[in-house]
Symmetry: none
Subunit: 411 residues, 2 copies
C-alpha cells in the first residue's frame, strides 16, 4: 500500500494563530483515493527546520504533500528548502511568471519584483500551475518520495490538489468510499442511540458521527475493489440509518440546508422572500451562496429598526408596545408582510435577541421567533438558543431554513 | 529559551476525520507563557509510531505536550508507548482508580475492567489528575524533555492543561508579545516591499505577513522580560510600519473591517443602510456580527430581482435596458435610494455578477460595482474580482466595507 505524509509550513500554524484545516482536508481526500495518511507534521517558516521536516517526512512515505511557504515574501521559504534538500537550483518557469503578471495587470498594478520567485521550481522537478492565485506549486522527488508543494491558502490549495495532484497520483487497487447523512434538529447522542439500534457502530463499514455548526453528519466509510462494490455495502446501511433517524435527515454527503431549500423551491416553481431582524442578513447570505438562486430568491429585507419593520413589512407600530418586537405576532407579520410585498410564494420572518445585550428575564438573549408563511397558512416556532451572538445568529438561520424545508416537504 | 513541541495521537486526526484544534490551543497558550512551540506532529493509534514520534519530538524540545490515546480501549496506546520509550513499567495509581469508579457510579454503572488502565502511569513519572473525565494524565521525562500527556477531548485537555500543566512548567523569565496591523486593499508582496524599506524583515522582533480572506496581517513578535519592555520595542516598529504601508492599514490586532466601520459610525453619530445585490446579504451579516450595531444600522435590502430594485430603491426600470443591472449608474442609484428611503447618513449599493453563470465578454463573472453615498456626494468603484461565487461575494463585501471606512475617514 502506498502511504502519504502531510507537512504544513508556517509560523501561523505552529504558533497556534490558525488551526491547520489543510492537513485534515488532504488526509480525507487521500483516504478517499485509497492512499492512507500515516502522519502530519507542522514546522515554522525556517529553512533549516523545513529541510529537516522534508527529510523525515519523505523517509517513511511514498507521497508527501507540503502546504504553505510559497508566498512572495521573505518568510516564504519552502521552495528554497525543497531545492536544498534535492540538491538542485531553482529556475524560472516563464508561463507561471506570465500568469502572475496577468493577475496583477487585471488589478491595474505592475508586478512587484519579489513575486518573480513564485514562478520558480527546482531543476528536475515540475511546476504545478495555480488557476486561482499567484503561487505556482512544485513537484519534486526526495528520497524516493513524490513530493507535492501546494499553497497554504485553503481555497488555492484545494483547487491545485484536485486539478494537478490527483491526476498525478499513482493508481491504487482499492478505493475508500464514504456516504454521509446530514441531520439538523436532533442531538448527537440521540442520533447515535437511534443509529445504534439498527447498525453496528463498531463494525465494518466504519461509522462516524460528527457535529459541526449545529449540523450532525453520520458518515459510513468502507474500502473495496471498486466504487460499485463499496456502494453495495454502503447504500443499504444508509437507507436503514435514514429510516431510523427520521425527518431530521435533510440531505446527503455535501448537502447544505440552503441547497436543499433551493432545490425544493425550484422543483415546485416557487419563489421566496425573507424578512430578517436578529439574523441580520445571514439567511439571505446562506441562500445566495447557492448558484442559480436568483431563479427563486426575490428579496431579503434586513429590518433592524422597528421603523423599517413598519414601513417595509407593514408591522403595526402598536405591536412593538403591546407584545414587543421579539414576539410571535411580529415574526408572523414579518413573514406575511414580505411574502405579500415581494409577491413570493414563501415568506420567512425572524426576530429575536442575538445578544450580548437586549435580554430580559422574560425574553433572555437567545429568544428567537421564526415564522414561515405560504399560501393559506403561517407556521411559527419559538427558539431558546444558547451561546454568543454569532452562534445565536447561526443557529437561528439554520432553524429558519430547516423550517422552510419541513413546510415545503409537508405540502 | 525553553522550546516546546506538540504531538497529537489518533486515527481520527491523521485520517482527517477531525481537525486538530488542540495543537493550536496549546501553541497559543504556551506562547503566552513565554515558551515558543517549534513544531507539531500527529501520528496514528499505533504503538510503534507513537514511540518513534515521542523520541523525535523530545529531541529538540524541552517540553512536549502529547494529546490523545489515553482512553480505555484497545486502540488507546499512548501510556504504553511512554512507558516503552522511558524503559519502565506502568503502575496503578489508587486515587485515580477511585476517581474513575466514582464517575461510573454517578451514572449508576459499574466500571468496566478495561477502564483500569486509565489509572496507570510509568514508574518514575507522575499522574496528572483529571477533574472532568476518566482519563488521568501522565508526566514523564524522555531524553531530558518534560513530557505531559493529556486527553484528546478538547474540553478535558484544556481543563487539565490549565489546572495541572501550567503550574508545573518551569517559570520562564520572558513573555512573548505580539502586535499586528490589519490591512486591506494592497497585495501581500507590495506590503512586504514597503515594510522592508523601513524595518528589518529578518531581524528581531520577528516580522510575519499573513494573507487570509483578503485581509493581510502584519505581525510583530518579540520576547522580553516584561510586557512593557516588549511594547517598548513593538510600538515604535508598528508606528513606522503603519506610516510606510499607509491608508490600507485599517486596524490592529483582532480588528475586523466591520468593527472599524461600526466604531467610525458611532464616533460620528451616523447611521447606515445597505442595498445589496450580488453580495446577497453578506455585508449586513458582517455588520450585524458586531455587538451594539443596532445603534447605527437601520436596514439592509437584498434586492436580487430588478423589480425589487425599482420598487424598494427607486432604480428606474429603463436603466436595466440601457446600461444593465450591473453598472455604475445602478450601484449609485441603489446607494442613494436606500440612504434616502431609510433616512440614513450613509448608503451603500453593490451590484455585480457573482457567477458561475451570468457573465458576458463585456461584463465577466467578478464584475462588481460598489457605491457609497453620504451627504452631498456618492463615491463609486468598479471591481474585477476573480474566483468562485463565495469568493466574489466575500471580496466584494470587504471592498464595500473598506470603501465606507475610507469615505468616513476622509470626511
Amino acid at each position: 500500500v502506498i502511504k502519504a505524509q502531510i507537512l504544513s509550513v508556517g509560523d501561523e500554524i505552529v504558533s497556534g494563530q490558525i488551526v491547520d484545516s489543510n492537513a485534515a482536508y488532504l488526509s480525507q481526500r487521500l483516504g478517499e483515493l485509497g492512499i492512507p495518511v500515516v502522519g502530519h507534521a507542522a514546522v515554522r517558516d525556517d529553512q533549516g527546520e523545513i529541510e529537516a521536516a522534508l527529510r523525515s517526512s519523505a523517509g517513511p512515505a511514498d507521497v508527501v504533500i507540503v502546504t504553505g511557504g510559497l508566498g512572495p515574501t521573505h518568510d516564504d521559504l519552502t521552495r528554497e528548502a525543497i531545492a536544498a534538500v534535492a540538491g538542485v537550483d531553482l529556475v524560472l518557469d516563464p508561463p507561471s511568471l506570465e500568469n502572475i503578471r496577468t493577475i496583477f495587470a487585471a488589478h491595474g498594478i505592475e508586478m512587484p519584483p519579489s513575486n518573480e520567485k513564485q514562478a520558480t521550481y527546482p531543476v528536475g522537478g515540475e511546476v504545478l500551475p495555480n488557476a486561482t492565485g499567484t503561487a505556482a506549486g512544485v513537484r519534486a522527488l526526495i528520497d524516493g518520495a513524490d513530493v507535492f508543494v501546494l499553497p497554504g491558502v485553503p481555497r488555492e490549495m484545494m483547487a491545485m490538489f484536485e486539478a494537478t495532484v490527483v491526476p498525478r497520483l499513482k493508481a491504487t487497487d482499492r478505493v475508500i468510499v464514504t456516504r454521509s447523512l446530514r441531520c439538523f434538529g436532533m442531538s448527537e447522542s440521540l442520533i447515535a442511540e437511534r443509529l445504534g439500534a439498527v447498525v453496528d457502530l463498531h463494525g465494518e463499514p466504519r461509522v462516524g458521527i460528527l457535529a459541526s455548526g449545529g449540523v450532525i453528519t453520520v458518515k459510513f466509510t468502507t474500502a473495496a475493489a471498486t466504487q460499485e462494490a463499496a456502494l453495495e455495502q454502503l447504500d443499504p446501511l444508509c437507507a436503514k440509518a435514514r429510516s431510523a433517524i427520521g425527518a431530521v435527515v435533510f440531505g446527503e454527503d455535501g448537502d447544505t440546508l440552503e441547497q436543499v431549500v433551493v432545490r425544493q423551491l425550484k422543483e415546485r416553481g416557487y419563489t421566496i422572500a425573507l424578512a430578517e431582524s436578529c439574523t441580520g442578513g445571514l439567511i439571505a447570505h446562506c441562500l445566495t451562496e447557492v448558484a442559480g438562486v436568483s431563479e427563486v430568491f426575490r428579496e431579503g429585507l434586513v429590518t433592524y429598526s422597528n421603523e423599517a419593520k413598519t414601513r417595509l413589512l407593514g408591522v403595526r407600530a402598536e405591536l412593538f408596545e403591546s407584545v414587543g418586537a421579539v414576539s410571535e405576532e411580529v415574526a408572523r407579520r414579518m413573514a406575511e408582510g414580505v411574502r405579500s410585498s415581494a409577491g413570493a410564494d414563501v415568506g420567512v420572518g425572524v426576530t429575536g435577541i442575538a445578544g450580548p445585550s437586549g435580554g430580559s428575564a422574560e425574553k433572555p438573549v437567545g429568544t428567537v421567533h421564526v415564522a414561515v408563511a405560504v399560501a393559506g397558512r403561517t407556521e411559527h416556532r419559538k427558539l431558546s438558543l444558547r451561546g454568543v451572538r454569532s452562534l445565536v445568529k447561526n443557529r437561528a438561520a439554520k432553524h429558519a431554513l430547516n423550517m422552510v424545508r419541513l413546510v415545503l416537504a409537508g405540502e
